[in-house]
Symmetry: C2
Subunit: 221 residues, 2 copies
Amino acid sequence: MAAPSSDRRRKQPGPRDERKSRTRRGLLDAALARLSGEQSFSSLSLREVTKDAGVVPAAFYRHFPTMEALGMSLVEESFATLRGLMREVRSEPLPTTHLIRQSVDTFLEYVLEHELHFRFIAKERYGGSSTMRMAIRQEIRLFTSELATDLARMPRLATVSSADLQLISSLVVQTIIAASELALDARPDDASELPRIADEAERKLQIILLGAAVWRSDQSR
Amino acid sequence: MAAPSSDRRRKQPGPRDERKSRTRRGLLDAALARLSGEQSFSSLSLREVTKDAGVVPAAFYRHFPTMEALGMSLVEESFATLRGLMREVRSEPLPTTHLIRQSVDTFLEYVLEHELHFRFIAKERYGGSSTMRMAIRQEIRLFTSELATDLARMPRLATVSSADLQLISSLVVQTIIAASELALDARPDDASELPRIADEAERKLQIILLGAAVWRSDQSR
């Protein structure tokens, strides 16, 4: 449902709004920068983030109610665009092997372009804060569901039950995430490492989809 | 090569050795206890560990040269017995589906019995300390190689190349590790969650091995 429009809503953002959104971005970026090293989210303090962003601690609350809310925003913005991108790739009328290659390349490229976000995600996926862990798991679940919906349209997976499509999607997502985590740790001096990671991920996805195609949902028990 | 035996080596551990090994254990357990909460290894200090173990900070160095050496010992002891156990399961003359079920059950049971160790492993696998990250990755690699060796003996994987057996093993290991990480986060009030996690892991492994059996190593490019 569209929000009712009003003069107040329709007005252009003024200099105050711009400043506000710049500060918000500054806080998010300060947290990301801190988290790219050895520090983990649960040891990150509001004071550190505001100091690095160049605002007084009390100013934090104009942008986020809690540190966890800031963390949730980081999780959200990490996945929002990526999910759309991946669906776009999958909507192209290409043979499966091409779709796999394109999906792997698009995913890894996006992760490496948003390195700080995904270093944060990799670290917090099993990190100390259970709120972050659950938020990330939720995003991955959404990702997995969207993939299952797209896989349901593949003729060779027509006999696979919805529950098993979720399983297969979860295998695919887990494989691509594992590859992206290796990619983030790839040594910059070894030019062959990234292509090898992408190549292995592709072959793994091919094996999974081969298995999925011969899998009958009623066979196991 | 066996170490040369000597009277000194053969003697029974005296009370001093026993005390020494008790203190060493105390330091390892103190670290594990700290790491089971929100704290991560890179934020753990020698002072915290010795305080919890009830020894003076300087005593630490009689047992470990550095905090990282203590971390490495934790990584090592997490995997040492588990690897042997899994090979034992796989050596039993059972049909594949039974082997899969038994492997999943054995793995998850072991992880839950050594909960603190594997909470530490889950957290540090992508955590802030690159030394821990690499040590854990090395253990997982060893695990994967051993599985590949055992898979090589399966008649239906006879046409799969060694490189692809490594890939398949890595898929299997990644799947079982992901399941164990979910098991560690399972809610104790929901009795159906652990069986569901085990069941899904089993089905995923079946799909992977099905795919592996129809996979020809030369087909991909």
